[in-house]
């Protein structure tokens, strides 16, 4: 006896091609989400990406874009599956199968397919990350930071996505079963979904909206600060919304009108154009997803050149091969010891400079949180933060630059481009933290020296003011700067050996990051409060991890050894760089899979059109042109829009940072342009291969 279940099983076997496509799409989406969240939330990445930092924000933003892409992609795959399934469901309904009769089999099928593919996809995400990460370690760069560990709480993200996939599949099944028009269900597979047309204005307006959204989205946090004295809440990201509306309109224009004028030859590519138009909803959705993914990928990969160029140019342009500072109470190798070590490596040194400095408390304007935790007001705080202070003479000796600082004033150190975020320009007094003697002062302008423009503000005082205010300071508030050049070619082994010797010379009192502020600590403790840096794990620094990203980035006495920084740049930034490279790969793989799948479904769904065209005498060249035109639009437009939009956005960000484009930024954008060309080449290669595969399926010579 043949039961309903037997019959459904048999039908499922016959439909395995469609099921495979759905399984594949679900699997891919879940694998991508699982892999991305596994890496993003792994301790390996978490400890390197500063919480709330720009890099972390970028990583989360691209994750959201990828998530949106995967959601739309799985919905699309589900739609394709049900469009095919509807014919079968409709026939069974027409032959008297009631909703109750069909529901168990249908729900079983969608739950098994979506659930199994989602679970396997989620599980596959981990080996996927592991393989790619270890390939990076093997082929590109390896460091102690790059040891990969997972925090399995990331499964929560995958679980949510899994529930979304299964829930949406069940909802769609229920929607089909609820349909009362059986003929509609039967014919669904062959019903076109023309998209609602807008005029030819929608493309240009779309571009305008993209531009507006980018400016508004980027400008909103600034406006929060400047106009409302408010830390931008998460919802200000809503100002980016016009970008998405604009993207939709651009894709709509592409599908409905195309970007070429057809006035001269209105019949050129008419078949592919009409095919796109009448499957408009699916096509627009696909183009939108691919655009988002390409944009996300580019956003991630552009991070590498913009960071690397700026860092490497900075290293190359520093005036000393070796530049370092230390606290006076530390037993740091003296000049003689360093020269002896240099001789072991066949090196001799020149341009030795040494000068003393002090650490004082400096006043300044601070942003004080209101009770709502969102708004703030600006208030002057007398002992705001630590500052490294040099006398005019010491500054001249160290930098070779003249500094004419009038008594009762101070000059702040910034970099050549005046982009330093930490330069202080609002102090009214400077405080000796031991004697509590205060010196009234006034900001008298900037001095420019990159090596002194660090996280801890640096100032120069008049010689006499300096002597007066530093009187009575203990060694923990005194320090020394030292710098020298190598006479001839430098040696990385020496730099490495000196770095290790230098780090090992410090005691535990100096094991703190540059953002641990001793002046702030004293201020807080004196008012009976606990300083945040004494309770937070973020302020822990270990000399044993002197090669780690966190140490080299944040240790308060991290030296500037040119050859060491240049050679170890990749290694110390490895996790960050590889995370962005991984994001780029994930986004591009997903985008290419979506494009490939879309082209495949075009071939499957429109096979009869190509057969009819053949019967009407269309030449292979004509059919080839139509296939290329159809696939070309799927690949070309999202790639162009995605890469161009990100290129422009990055240029805008670099420009808006300081209201100008620096030479290093021009160079970085040049490298980004080259990267874009490589991405274009890869996309073109996949497009060619897709066209070839589709032509094979459609039997076009």
């Amino acid at each position: 006896m043949i039961s309903m279940m037997n019959m459904e099983q048999k039908l499922r076997r016959a439909d395995r091609k469609q099921s495979r496509l759905y399984l594949f799409c679900n699997f891919m989406a879940l694998m991508i989400i699982s892999a991305y969240s596994a890496l993003m939330l792994s301790p390996t990445v978490q400890k390197v990406f500063p919480e709330g930092g720009d890099s972390a924000k970028q990583m989360h933003m691209i994750f959201v874009m990828t998530l949106i892409g995967c959601v739309v992609f799985t919905i699309y795959a589900l739609g394709l599956f049900f469009r095919h399934k509807s014919g079968q469901l409709g026939i069974l309904m027409a032959l008297g199968a009631s909703r109750k009769r069909l529901a168990p089999g249908l729900f079983r099928e969608v739950i098994v397919l979506s659930g199994a593919s989602a679970i396997v996809g989620t599980a596959a995400g981990f080996p996927f990350v592991w393989i790619i990460w270890h390939a990076f370690r093997l082929l590109l760069v390896d460091s102690s930071d790059m040891v990969l560990t997972f925090d399995f709480r990331c499964l929560f993200v995958s679980l949510l996505f899994l529930l979304l996939v299964v829930g949406f599949a069940c909802l769609t099944a229920w929607r089909y079963l609820k349909k009362t028009n059986i003929m509609e269900v039967i014919r669904e597979e062959h019903i076109n979904e023309p998209v609602k047309e807008l005029g030819r204005w929608c493309g240009p307006v779309g571009f305008l909206l993209i531009l507006t959204g980018a400016v508004l989205g980027y400008g909103a946090p600034w406006a929060c600060h400047a106009w409302f004295h408010m830390f931008p809440p998460a919802w200000v990201s809503i100002f980016y919304a016009p970008v998405f509306v604009g993207l939709y309109m651009v894709m709509l224009h592409t599908v409905v009108h195309g970007w070429k004028s057809h006035r001269k030859n209105p019949y050129k590519n008419i078949i592919s154009r009409s095919m796109m138009k009448f499957q408009g909803k699916q096509t627009v959705n696909n183009l939108l997803v691919v655009t988002l993914l390409v944009a996300g990928g580019c956003f991630a990969i552009f991070y590498l050149p913009t960071n690397a160029v700026s860092a490497l140019v900075h290293y190359a342009s520093q005036p000393y091969d070796y530049f370092y500072q230390y606290q006076a109470d530390q037993n740091i190798p003296d000049r003689e010891t360093v020269e002896m070590l240099g001789r072991e490596y066949g090196l001799s040194f020149k341009d030795w400079k040494e000068c003393s400095c002090v650490t004082l408390g400096i006043g300044g304007m601070d942003e004080i949180y209101e009770e709502d935790g969102l708004r703030y007001h600006v208030e002057y705080v007398p002992m705001l933060q630590e500052a490294r202070v040099l006398s005019e003479d010491a500054y001249r000796a160290l930098t070779g630059q003249e500094a004419d600082v009038k008594p009762g004033t101070y000059m702040s150190l910034t970099d050549r481009e005046e982009t330093s975020l930490y330069a202080n320009s609002s102090a009214r007094e400077i405080t000796n933290m031991v004697t509590r003697k205060q010196l009234a002062t006034e900001f008298a302008g900037f001095l420019h020296y990159d090596l002194l423009a660090k996280e801890i503000p640096c100032c120069v005082l008049d010689n006499e003011d300096y002597a007066a205010i530093s009187e009575g300071l203990t060694d923990e508030w005194r320090g020394q700067f030292a710098a020298f050049n190598v006479d001839g070619e430098d040696s990385y082994p020496f730099a490495n050996a000196f770095y290790r010797l230098f780090v090992s010379s410090f005691d535990d009192s100096c094991a703190r990051p540059s953002y641990y502020d001793r002046v702030q600590k004293i201020r807080e403790n004196e008012t009976g409060k606990e300083y945040w840096g004494d309770t937070d794990d973020m302020t822990t620094i270990s000399y044993e991890l002197s090669d780690s990203f966190a140490f080299r980035q944040f240790w308060v006495y991290q030296p500037d050894f040119r050859i060491l920084n240049q050679n170890d740049y990749m290694r110390s930034m490895a996790v960050m760089l590889m995370m962005f490279l991984f994001i780029f790969l994930v986004c591009m793989i997903t985008a290419l899979v979506v494009c490939y799948t879309r082209c495949q479904s075009i071939a499957l769904n429109n096979r009869y059109i190509f057969d009819d065209l053949k019967k009407l005498g269309a030449s292979p060249a004509f059919l080839d042109r139509e296939v290329r035109s159809q696939c070309g639009n799927v690949f070309r437009v999202p790639s162009l829009v995605g890469t161009s939009a990100m290129f422009l956005l990055y240029s805008m960000i670099l420009y808006a940072n300081d209201g100008r484009m620096l030479p290093t930024e021009w160079m970085a954008m040049g490298v980004c342009l080259c990267v874009t060309a490589v991405i274009g080449g890869v996309i073109y290669a996949v497009y060619r291969s897709t066209v070839k595969s589709i032509k094979g399926q459609l039997g076009i010579a």
């Binding site: 006896m1 043949i2 039961s3 309903m4 019959m7 048999k10 039908l11 499922r12 076997r13 016959a14 439909d15 079968q88 026939i91 069974l92 309904m93 027409a94 032959l95 008297g96 199968a97 009631s98 909703r99 109750k100 009769r101 009362t180 028009n181 059986i182 003929m183 509609e184 039967i186």
Partner: protein
């Protein structure tokens, strides 16, 4: 006046005084359609497709519906088969009122009281011909040995016994449609509804399908209601209803000779077309 309802199915019809056939006709009424209206909406525009249709079909009668494209033939068929909802009117099948039935009751009617033959066969590709014929029984949960035997008998009756184990992709269009006819009869329905059953077939296959309908009518006393464009196929029917603009334009009774009936049909269709030109 109606003397009795001779329905093969166990569901005996109830009172149908409101939808009586023409006076003096003594026959068993299987299908009544009264004041049937159906509109389609395309955007804000509404199209009246069925505009108050009244007719009946007697048991064992083979009736065709003809008319130009857009006259409402297929919509009428889809309303009778409960595939699409209608706006207003009554449809009685074997004495049962279809309007107001819930989804489960409608499904039962489609499964046990109606056999449907589609223009494009609508066989399930993943099942063999025998399994396809058995689908209504499988849906019912009664596809046992007895049903298989019946499927084999029907297949033999329609000349497709030799292809029972083949899949739809392996057989011709005519064979597919005869399999669909066999499927429509497997549950011994009150009526077979056929939508352009010869529309996708060559003349030889089309003829074979029509013969299978005639065979079902003669051997099984099947009632058949067929929509067609083909005057040749319609000329085998007992009666032909001509539809125009959603209304019944004319009904023609079978003549003595099939050829003569086809001539009458062609004349009537020609006249209907000329009225439009005038």
């Amino acid at each position: 006046m109606i003397k009795s309802f001779r329905i093969k199915n166990q569901d005996a019809p109830d009172k149908v005084q409101n939808f009586l056939p023409a006076a003096g006709k003594e026959e068993t009424v299987m299908l009544y359609v009264k004041e049937l209206y159906k509109t389609y909406a395309a955007g804000k525009t509404k199209y009246q497709v069925l505009n108050g249709i009244d007719f009946h079909v007697a048991q064992g009668e083979f009736v065709a519906v003809m008319g130009p494209s857009g006259s409402g033939k297929t919509t009428l068929l889809n309303c009778i088969s409960c595939y699409i909802p209608f706006d207003k009117g009554n449809i009685r099948l074997g004495g049962m009122e279809l309007a107001g039935m819930n989804e489960d009751e409608l499904a039962r009617v489609r499964n046990t009281k109606i056999g449907f033959v589609f223009q494009d066969f609508m066989l399930l590709d993943g099942l063999t011909v025998r399994e396809n014929v058995l689908v209504p029984r499988i849906v019912q949960g009664e596809a046992g040995k007895e049903a298989e035997k019946l499927a084999d008998q029907l297949a033999a009756m329609f000349g497709i016994g030799h292809i029972l184990d083949k899949y739809p992709a392996e057989i011709s269009g005519g064979e597919k449609q005869r399999a669909a006819v066999a499927r429509s009869l497997i549950n011994n329905p009150l009526i077979i509804l056929a939508d352009e059953p010869t529309g996708n077939l060559d003349s030889k296959s089309g003829r074979a399908v029509i013969e299978s309908f005639i065979h079902a009518k003669e051997k099984m006393n099947a009632t058949i209601f067929m929509v067609t464009h083909d005057s040749f196929a319609a000329s085998f029917c007992d009666r032909v209803i001509l539809l125009k603009d959603g209304m019944i334009y004319r009904q023609l009774e079978k003549a003595k000779e099939r050829g003569e009936f086809q001539e009458q049909l062609l004349d009537a269709i020609k006249k209907m077309g000329q009225e439009d030109i005038i």
